[in-house]
């Protein structure tokens, strides 16, 4: 690992294939989609890409690090609100109050809002706010070895508490309505289809860069450590590393990506509200990663786009059925394709190989379903990608 390649592929052929694939997807997203899609559909795609950015973070924390974080909505919200507060203030103009404060009977701009007038401050906060909070929380929680299911439920509770708090502070946050009705974004006119297209490019580029960055991170020494922590935290500790720090870094990165996603979501969709941040939206993000394939970063992106696309399409044509479909998909993926869509091809091939090679192995009950070990494309150095993070002890 002296010189990690651009896409962090370690085999020569793999590197080229990786580059080609990335280029193909980039071409599709940056060149084909903007030409063929109507402005409305392009806006929707931009929204899916925002979710993909957040999903990327979950792919890192959960897929690579084994931390099932059910509170990504909190960080998405922090980024989103930081951006929305700035846009609201920019719109209201100097000395004026944002419209919702007027309805809520707030007469003076709250102190908390004041610094968000500065664009640089708002942009900084988009990254810093989720990052700092996640880092602090991570150090505390992981330092005390809270993990597995405890951590999942803790983050879920955090999302629930955050939403209740946001809703309660109506004068400060707009309450359930959230912040809405933005007309411009750093000079871009949000009503214009042309400017929406520019926004789309911004989102796509942020996603692409973040993806490359995360891949690099995973391929690095740190990445291997992260995966090792996922697979055997105490063993890593015995080797002299501090798993809490390793986990906190990944958790912080995932929070930052969620914050970025939220900040971009605001101009793209034009609203940020507590309804987007609670327990269910946070779970849906994780769900998207599971569907796409949690063990590969590309799976997170794919899952977020596919799932949100499916959601739009189904609710347009078949509203009642969406919950059934979503539920069934969830059950099906978790039970039969734990590696998600991306892992499916490999799973089928392995299954066929197993059948043709000789008598099928009998897997005893109470064991994970038969998914033979095989190298995962994202971490070729890792000999085994287990089906689930090994965390029995956390709940035993």
């Amino acid at each position: 690992m002296k010189t990690p390649g651009l896409l962090a592929q370690r085999t020569k052929g793999g590197k080229w294939r990786g580059v080609v694939a990335f280029a193909a997807v980039a071409l599709l997203v940056l060149a084909v989609a903007p030409v063929t899609l109507s402005p409305f559909r392009l806006e929707l795609l931009a929204k899916y890409l925002c979710f993909a950015i957040a999903a990327l973070g979950i792919g890192l924390a959960w897929g690579k690090g084994g931390m099932l974080t059910l509170g990504q909505g909190v960080f998405f919200g922090l980024g989103g609100y930081a951006m929305a507060m700035h846009l609201k203030l920019a719109e209201a103009g100097p000395g004026e109050l944002p419209d919702f404060m007027v309805w809520s009977g707030v007469e003076e701009l709250p102190l908390l809002w004041e610094p968000f007038r500065q664009p640089w401050f708002a942009l900084l906060m988009v990254v810093l706010l989720p990052g700092t909070i996640a880092a602090l929380l991570g150090l505390l929680v992981f330092g005390r070895r809270v993990r597995g299911a405890y951590f999942a439920i803790l983050t879920q509770a955090l999302a629930a508490a955050f939403v209740i708090w946001l809703v309660g502070q109506q004068g400060l946050t707009g309450g359930t309505n959230g912040l809405t009705n933005f007309s411009s974004f750093f000079g871009l006119d949000l009503a214009s289809a042309q400017d929406q297209r520019i926004l789309y490019f911004i989102v796509a580029i942020v996603l692409g860069l973040l993806y490359l960055g995360f891949r690099q991170l995973v391929a690095s020494r740190y990445g291997r450590l992260l995966i090792a922590v996922r697979d055997g935290e105490d063993r890593v500790r015995f080797l002299g590393y501090d798993p809490a720090v390793v986990k906190t870094v990944a958790f912080t990165m995932s929070a930052v990506s969620a914050g970025l996603a939220g900040a971009l979501f605001v101009p793209v969709v034009g609203i940020i509200s507590p309804a987007l941040l609670g327990v269910v939206p946070s779970l849906e993000l994780v769900f998207a990663v599971a569907v796409g394939g949690r063990y590969a970063l590309a799976g997170a992106v794919l899952g977020a786009v596919l799932l949100n696309y499916a959601k739009t399409t189904f609710s347009e044509n078949y509203a009642d059925g969406w919950l059934y479909l979503q539920g069934a998909l969830f059950i099906g993926v978790m039970a039969y394709a734990p590696k998600g869509v991306i892992g499916l091809a490999g799973q089928i091939r392995d299954f066929v190989a197993l059948r043709t090679r000789g008598p099928a192995r009998r897997i005893p009950a109470q064991q994970p379903p038969p998914v033979p070990p095989g190298p995962s494309a994202d971490a070729p150095a890792e000999p085994v990608e287990p089906v689930g993070p090994v965390e029995k002890e956390a709940v035993a």
Binding site: T11, G14, R17, V20, A21, A24, V25, L28, V29, V32, T36, S38, P39, F40, R41, E43, L44, L45, W103, S104, G105, V167, Q170, G175, T176, N177, G178, T180, N181, F182, S183, A191, S192, A193, V269, G270, I271, S273, A275, L276, A298, V301, L302, V305, L306, Y309, T313, S315, E316, A319, D320, W322, V341, I342, L344, A345, R349, G374, P375, P380
Partner: protein
């Protein structure tokens, strides 16, 4: 090993590119590239209208009934020849109780389906989310639910009550009953907070005293502490702006402490016939509510409306105020279009002033200046059979005043 790993990667690449390609083409085939805001397509012999309510999620409980009554109105209009000779074709979308989804679907109805008008929304949050979309595209939305006022969007018609048609009459009623001390209970969102602000102003100007003000999170189901606070404050009446399921928990727990409507009435502004059934008349009998319409409202037009609704959706169904307002929306739009002789939103807006229909609640007229409607305020009392009996009404339809400009006590609101 290497070969397998290549195979995997290739398969993954194929999967990603295929999926993105599919998504792109599927989106593209859906509609040709067009400019963002587009006028309605009224060239054929049908005209499309959007119906946008939550058909799933927490709000579906209430919103499905409004969707039903809107569709019924459209059917009735089509049976009588449509609007300006064109059949009305509804495009139903699901807002999924999620505000950004409302905005997204509104945009889809406008630019994808090219609807002439959209009927939809329930919560204030869904309206606030849709508002920029309709203003940006210069298209019309008819919003059918009582709300907190303080808004006049040029592209929204408000067919439910604003504060001076529901809350203020409700307060007048309490005052006439000699209730001096009131306790405010509400869900924590915009409508209750704004309503309570108005109530406090009113109380200050009318010699009433607000002895407590409490908010609970949406979907809250634990009311024993709150009820303890209410009983400690010993109010003459409670003004209730709780929303949805919280009402069920609140009334069940209130009743089980032995406090009855006679001891301390709870005036509700979000409990209609549909909600009464979910809570149970046992817990609610004798409690006052404030609306503009009840299933029992007298008049031939209402008898006809109730009968038609029951015939279409089942004899056990009830009709309620927001449903009736949704139903009226369609007829008001039809009347305005016919007056304007055009489906063009600007023409409809210009023609809307004074457009009037004979609605189940009585005569309903659009006030052109605010795009709200004149409505008769009615106070009712829940009966043991679950219906609501009117005990007081404002006599004539009240002029809508979303900013309460004509009320001196509400000056610095």
């Amino acid at each position: 090993m290497r070969i397998i790993s290549f195979g995997r990667r290739a398969a993954r690449l194929a999967a990603v590119s295929l999926a993105v390609a599919l998504a792109t083409t599927a989106c593209a085939s859906d509609e040709s590239t067009s400019k963002g805001s587009a006028g309605a397509d009224t060239s054929g012999d049908t005209v499309k209208v959007g119906v946008l309510h939550s058909l799933s999620g927490t709000m579906s409980i209430s919103e499905v009934t409004v969707k039903n009554s809107v569709l019924m109105a459209i059917d009735e209009i089509n049976a009588k020849g449509g609007v300006m000779g064109k059949k009305v074709q509804p495009v139903v979308e699901d807002g999924a109780s999620d505000w950004p989804t409302f905005a997204e679907k509104a945009q889809k109805l406008i630019s994808g389906d090219k609807v002439a008008v959209t009927f939809g929304g329930w919560t204030s949050a869904s309206r606030k989310a849709m508002l920029p979309v309709f203003e940006k595209n210069k298209q019309l939305l008819f919003y059918p639910v009582q709300y907190e006022g303080l808004e006049t969007s040029p592209y929204i018609f408000y067919t439910g009550a604003t504060t001076n048609q529901q809350i203020v009459p409700g307060l007048d009623y309490l005052k006439a009953q000699g209730k001096k001390k009131i306790f405010l209970v509400g869900s924590d969102y915009v409508f209750p907070r704004t309503a309570n602000k108005i109530i406090k102003k009113y109380a200050a100007a009318n010699g009433m005293e607000v002895v407590g003000e409490e908010y609970t999170p949406l979907g809250h189901t634990e009311y024993s502490t709150l009820i303890n606070k209410v009983t400690q404050a010993k109010p003459d009446a409670v003004f209730n702006t709780l929303n949805g399921d919280s009402n069920v928990a609140f009334f069940k727990q209130l009743r089980s402490t032995g406090i009855s409507a006679a001891d301390m009435p709870v005036l509700s502004v979000s409990v209609a016939e549909e909600e009464v059934r979910g809570i149970g008349p046992d817990y609610l009998a004798g409690q006052p509510v404030a609306w503009n319409y009840y299933q029992t409202t007298e008049g031939a037009r209402n008898t006809e409306f109730v009968a038609a609704y029951k015939a279409k959706y089942g004899a056990d169904k009830v009709t309620s105020d927001p449903m009736e307002a949704g139903y009226n929306s369609v007829y008001l739009w039809k009347a305005a279009v016919e007056k304007a002789q055009s489906f063009d939103p600007e023409a409809v807006k210009k023609a809307c002033d004074g457009v009037s229909i004979d609605a189940p609640e009585g005569k309903v007229t659009i006030d052109g200046a605010t795009q709200h409607v004149y409505k008769t305020a009615r106070i009712g009392v829940v009966q043991p059979d679950g219906l609501i009996k009117e005990v007081w009404n404002s006599g004539a339809p009240i002029k809508p005043d979303p900013y309460l400009k004509d009320y001196p006590w509400a000056k610095d609101l």
